[in-house]
């Protein structure tokens, strides 16, 4: 009894140690926190303030104009541009999600063989992720050229009329997605492959003994146990897809006829072409709120449908 009494520190000392430890923890995260405050949270707060001004980037002064920018965005000429960009962004995001998740799973299933040949193939599929988007977009600009592009050249050999990949409003967004898919599909594949390797073989052996075929094993074991990975890919891809800019800027500049004018490009247009930082800030805040709502909703839904027991 006496030994145990001497081994256990008094309650006050435990409390002090805990408190010191908490302070140390806080000090450790302080640099990161300061970085976030200065470079992320302060600009967000400042965006709100700017949205109540009439700030033109190249003018030396600006005034506070109340809700003028918000009125312009929701009841003025800005509404149709916002709605159009929202539609384009949602369509693009849905496309990138489909390519990354569905394409990623399919490729992971195809290349889930640990041989030298499949290893090489995996590397080939994954490498485009490392090509800078700006470089890739310039190359795709040539590939998609209506008159001299290699894509139309091959279509011509097959007797198909040339397609205006970047000039047709019904096809331009699909063309941007083709570039995205070329870069993203290998990434989705690698993430799914690593998750598949983490699933215990026991499940598959047990299912086989019970007479489950390959599709049943995939549907009832692989797919549910990949759900944390799918959630991860869904959230990260959603966020990056909503922020798409570079490929649109290089391939189409938001055209033709605003058919690829995604939200970030709209913000860029107002900020850097029209110098209307005030309007750009207003749209950026709307974008921020939309992302916030979506992220919260995804986390809520994921609690019920994601299995972490692989």
């Amino acid at each position: 009894m006496s030994n145990s009494k001497t081994a256990a520190p008094p309650a006050g000392a435990r409390k002090r140690r805990k408190s010191t430890s908490a302070w140390l923890d806080f000090l450790c995260v302080l640099p990161a926190l300061a970085f976030l405050l200065v470079f992320i949270y302060y600009p967000i707060v400042d965006l709100v303030r700017i949205s109540f001004t009439d700030w033109n980037l190249i003018k030396p002064q600006y005034n506070y104009v109340g809700f003028d920018n918000w009125i312009w965005l929701f009841t003025g000429s800005g509404t149709k541009y916002l709605l159009n960009s929202l539609k384009v962004t949602v369509l693009y995001t849905a496309g990138e999600l489909a390519v990354t998740i569905i394409g990623g799973i399919i490729f992971a299933l195809i290349f889930n063989r640990m041989t030298k040949f499949f290893g090489t193939m995996r590397a080939i599929v994954f490498v485009p992720k490392y090509v800078a988007m700006s470089s890739a977009a310039v190359i795709f600009l040539w590939i998609f050229n209506k008159n001299t592009g290699i894509l139309n050249h091959f279509l011509g050999i097959l007797g198909i009329a040339p397609v205006d990949w970047l000039g047709d409003r019904n096809i331009a967004l699909l063309s941007v997605l083709m570039l995205t898919g070329w870069r993203a599909i290998g990434y989705g594949m690698m993430i799914y492959l690593s998750a598949m390797m983490g699933i215990s073989k026991d499940y598959y052996e047990a299912a086989s003994l019970d007479g489950a075929n390959a599709f049943q094993r995939f549907k009832s074991i692989t797919l549910p146990l990949l759900s944390p990975t799918t959630l991860f890919l869904f959230v990260t891809t959603f966020i990056s897809a909503m922020k798409v800019f570079q490929s649109v800027d290089i391939l189409t500049s938001g055209g033709p006829y605003r058919s690829t004018e995604v939200l970030v490009y709209l913000v860029y247009q107002y900020a850097m072409r029209d110098f209307r930082i005030d309007r750009a800030a207003t749209i950026a805040i709307v974008f921020f709120i939309l992302l916030l709502i979506f992220t919260a909703a995804t986390m809520k839904v994921s609690n019920k449908n994601v299995h972490y027991d692989s």
Binding site: P43, D46, I58, W72, G76, G167, I239, A284, L291
Partner: protein, 447 residues
Amino acid sequence: MKKLFAVLMAAAMCMSAMTACSGGGSTGVTPETQGETQAASTDASDYEVTEPITITWWHAMEEQYTDLLNEVIDEFEASQDLITIDAQYMGSYSELNEKLATAQAAGEGLPAIAIANTPYVAQYGESGMAENLDPYIEATGFDASDFGAGMLEAAQYDGKQVSLPFQISTQVVYYNADMAKELGVEIPEKFSDMTEFLSKVSIVNNGTTERYGTIVPGWDQWYFETFYLNNGVKIVNDDGLSSDLDSEAAINVASTIKEWCDNGYAYFATGETASDDMRQAFIDGRTFSVLHTSSIYNTYVDRCDFEVGMAWLPGGDDGSKLSEIGGNVLFIPAKNDQATKNAAWQFMQFLESKEMNMKWAEGTGYMPTRNSVLTTEEGQAFLEKKPAFQCIFDNLNEIQPRIQNPAWDNLATIWKNGMAEMINENMDVTSSMQEMTQEINEVLEDQ
């Protein structure tokens, strides 16, 4: 609570790119002004350079002009002891414009001197970003009156000389002169004669065009703007708040251009590679002519294996044959300190000198801007080297400043997009023009 924090963190990370490109983390109510706002003194000694100084020049001259650029800078540095030049290529005009705006907002990193595409003069003048050069001109006795009147006016805002014309061009028609001789045709002087002319020079078989009569650049409204102006369209009404692009005259011009395209006589070039594609089509002989800028003359001559002709753009039925100034001007950012501005002014005077003006004109496709060159033997010598420029020399007084309105860039984007959609998507001209004008009016009123 933890979950809410997680959501906030995720969304904040999402926003990092947004805040970066929407100017977050920048200024207070009045961004810091480093130098004097405007130099008002007309005493020459106030504009002298007394200490050694290195100044930065932001330009948009591509690689093919590097040798010429270095030669000019070397000559300037050899001509005096105090100023050295750090010339920096900043990309296209629009990229240069973005970088200037960012530096202006930040209040630092501005160049001592920069070029700007002519449509930006209004924005830079209205915002006070460009130094008023009038006191400099008066104090140092710089002869600004030697510039063509339209060119000088194009570099002004609200009567103030906020820049000086530098590398000046205008819209022209390039045509295959060998083909023209063979067909026995000349570029018509009137827009209303163009449809018939294009039907003669183009080859359309069973609805398929084998050779276009011309190509209308749709990536920049500047190229088709004069067709409207010469046919009585103001584009921006005198009130500055509305447009007449839905007028009968404007609808007639738009219908005519669409008719060319519908018949296969022409196509409306749009997209990121439209300029390159159009150039190549002309070089390959797939089009009889193209509408383009006079500054690209050297490129066409170097790359075409036929004689390149240059003609003035067809004008209106009333004899009006105005064109609009293109190219760029030189300006000095007003936020710089006076010593930097003085050095920039010294350099600007050198760049604008008659000798340098001829050097630019001969080494590029830009035109001479000085009356003392245009109307003298030097001008004739220039014409002997580049005879195609005769059409520009004959019409120098027709070159007008650009329309100046702070919302112009936005208006132009709506206009060219509207034209492209109407022609390429085969939409009704009247309703398209009306819809487009309504959108433009909203933008003009919104400023």
